[in-house]
């Protein structure tokens, strides 16, 4: 088990290196190959109307765009490992490791901002995932056991709606009804840290949780239903029943456990991606999380921020998958790690 974890962690690091190279290439190498000059890069950071060519050239030089691409990539990686220093005009600012970059638009290091945004996204993702996991799996199990019943048809109909309706639609509708018309949930943009006031934290997030969970619960219900229908037809279920086990034990311990493996796989991916930023949910509810941060970075063409988010998302997805792989062995006794 330990050697398995170590191997996976080494693979995770390699994956991060590959992603960093790909990300850097997308933002710096490909544009250069397409004819974008270092002056063009620097122009993104010059806000004033009619900035002189000298100013733009000086900024290109200051930001290191004139250095060879390998040097630029090396500097970025060095910053992540050892930290970096940036000229703020009045002084030189130290960006400690892991310095994922420095935004020359907002004049801030990326890593502290990511850490600042992370609790919002984690709160959103964890809360919503608990709801959708419980609601989705429970609905899927009951639907499978009552296949063809009114509940099954109704639940799958709602699930279809949940999968089909985009969150920027359901989110805005929910906000208008529950926040602005009935006043029972917090308005958009509300977030209180759990450390400040857990009650407020939950109150502020309940609507985004439910809206996000509705989307995911739908697909989990359908997935669970399909898995359960398949599992409940397996020979070992018949054997369990023949041995005289109570039906509840047959369903939960044997049926559900077998059906959970694919659910766990998809859950790992979903949670990992969400931890990297629930872009649409955070945008719709104006939550200052990593997803919103990524959108803001993309809109302002703030490359260091975009690259920082990409690396963090990669890290989360890799870690989530590692955890899921470890959980396989717990959920499904047929799986052995080694």
């Amino acid at each position: 088990m330990v050697s398995y974890i170590i191997r996976r962690l080494i693979a995770a690091v390699l994956m991060l290196v590959v992603v960093s190279i790909v990300t850097f290439s997308i933002f710096f190498v490909i544009p250069r190959l397409a004819g974008v000059t270092t002056i063009d890069f620097a122009s993104r950071y010059v806000g004033s109307k009619g900035a002189s060519a000298e100013t733009v050239a000086a900024i290109a030089d200051k930001l290191g765009f004139n250095d060879p691409l390998v040097v630029q990539y090396g500097r970025w990686i060095k910053g992540i490992v050892l930290g970096a220093e940036y000229d703020t005009g009045a002084s030189v600012e130290h960006c400690p490791a892991p310095c994922l970059g420095y935004s020359f638009i907002t004049k801030t290091p990326v890593w502290p901002e990511l850490l600042d945004r992370l609790p919002v996204t984690v709160s959103l993702a964890i809360g919503a995932s608990i709801i959708w996991l419980i609601a989705g799996v429970a609905t899927g199990v009951v639907s499978a056991l009552r296949r063809g019943s009114f509940f099954d048809r109704a639940a799958m109909g709602v699930a279809l709606a949940g999968v089909s309706l985009p969150i920027f639609f359901t989110g805005i509708i929910c906000l208008v009804f529950f926040s602005y018309r009935f006043g029972i949930t917090a308005p958009g943009g509300s977030y209180t840290a759990i450390t400040e006031n857990p009650g407020e934290w939950a109150y502020d997030l309940i609507l985004p949780w439910i809206t996000l969970a509705f989307l995911y619960a739908a697909s989990y219900a359908r997935l669970t239903r399909a898995g359960m229908l398949e599992t409940m037809g397996e020979d070992y279920i018949r054997t369990a029943r023949a041995k005289g086990l109570p039906e509840s034990k047959v369903i939960v311990k044997h049926g559900l456990r077998g059906a959970l493996t694919p659910i766990l796989t998809i859950f790992g991916l979903d949670l990992g991606l969400l931890l990297g930023g629930a872009v649409l949910t955070e945008s719709t509810f104006s939550l200052p999380g990593l997803g919103k941060y990524a959108v803001q970075a993309i809109q302002s063409n703030d490359l260091p921020k975009i690259m920082g988010v990409v690396l963090l998302v990669t890290l989360f997805v890799v870690l989530a998958n590692l955890i899921v792989d470890l959980l396989y062995a717990v959920v499904d006794p047929r799986v052995r790690l080694g």
Partner: protein, 586 residues
Amino acid sequence: MKKRYATPAFLAAGVALSLGLSACGGGGGGETKNDSGSAAGSQEAQANAGLESVVNPSDKKGGTLKMAITEAWDSIDPGDTYYGLSWNFSRIYGRPLVTYKPAPGQGGRELVPDLAESLGKSSDDGKTWTYKLRQGVKFEDGTPITSKDVKYAVLRQLDKDTFVNGPTYFNDWLDLPKDFKSVYKTPDVNTDSAIETPDDQTIVFHLKKAFSGFDNFAALPATVPVPKDKDTGIKYRQHPVASGPYMFEKVEEGKQYTLVRNPNWDQATDPIRKALPDRYEVSLGVEANDLDNRIVAGDLHVDLAGTGVQAAAVGTIQADPQLKNRTDNPTGSRTWYISILGDNPPLDNVDCRKAIIYGADRVGLQNAYGGQLAGEIATGLMPPSIGGWKKLDLYPTATGDVEKAKAALQACGKPEGFETVMTFRSDRPKEQAAAESLQQALAKVGIKLTLKGFPTSEYFSSYAGKPAYTKANNIGLATNGWSADWNTGFGFMSQIVDSRVVRAAGNYNLSVRSDEIDSLIDQANSEQDKSKSDAIWGQIDQKVMEGAYVLPEVWSKGLLLRGKGLTNVFVSGAWDMYDYLNMGVE
């Protein structure tokens, strides 16, 4: 000066529905107050009441004024910002030497002294400008503000390697010593040739050449004093030191700013500010349609961007009389236009350029920008809010005049028409729609347009503003837009009609090339009499149109929505948005 426009809506239908529901839920409270500020039940304020009068005037202090914006603007550092909303808003925590009078409509364009006792006194034929600071003005930490703090503020922001956002007027006009680089790189260089501070209350600016409109420079946030010992370069934006009635309590980049009362601000030193709310909360990164919903519902007071509600909200507001009464629809000091580049034949011929203007479907262009509520068909480059503006009537403003266009083509020796390329910003759907409208309209007269879209971030630096590119790629038309830095001819026109500054890239004007216009610009700048100067700028506007250097599309308009419970609401002619200086809450 830039305006902050929100990103496109996610899903218009859902948003429109949600706005409708929101309006149903929140519209009937009778909370709208009349112009005299009395309680609900009397005459309600009407649509556009804020254009020429103060809606819900009040001197009541207290409360929290909630503002929001879809994205953070460039900076809250007064020396590093180029957004109209920011210049407007920054006055609650910073005091420039002079500012625009907090008054509705045209009254808001009048300059009044702020940190200075009076407007600037010019000498040396307009090359020297002197200001006396008010006595007793202090920073938020209680330190008295002196002329040296103003000088330092102006000098520090000249460093455009560090402060990349702000305008370059002081860089361009101050008589700076050649060996001066910046306050950080060459701190010991004597800069008295540019700015003198003979005593703590006096500051004297020396210009390279005469300029009659220097008070407009003095109204820039760049003259908001900065204490040298608190300057942290680009990190100063994390806590600009207040000289106005409010100071920053919390600065969370990309999330929120909160401001509280500055205990060292003294009303006796400040005749123009009321300082009504106890607190300001500015939310950043609020989803655009949710922002509108929250203003409709009363959860927010002000959309800080000041450019108007989203398209989804416009229809809903128009259908609801109560909501409509809460709106103002000012014409802004921004013109959307198409530069007609004369570098490539046959557009070097004025009649070929005129053929394009005659053939354009002006109503189609207006619709592309959102219709009548979003823009007024422009008859000239200069918008009506600019001093010296006069209505021009050189070209038809309907759906295009095919006969005149063909006659112009005949006159330029291209009776069968010609081909050229038009650029637009590919991430701006309105510009694309306008380009397509023009393409269809000009096809009727034989002018074939090939449309090319480019991303905003590189539009001027790599394509439409780069002469080498426009010449090599037969670019004849380039979509453009410009807003005034302030509402004078110089503030609007100087950067877009002067042909003498053509850079290798990043040009905003590659179309207006006229020695006569350049000469008129010099005349206007040196003219000390404002009305005469205005008249010259009006003349320049006419010359631009006579030369058919641009096809003006629309003067932009925005549908502004007054927040519930907001007092002292009016549209300032200086910003063409709500004036943020003296707003309060009930």
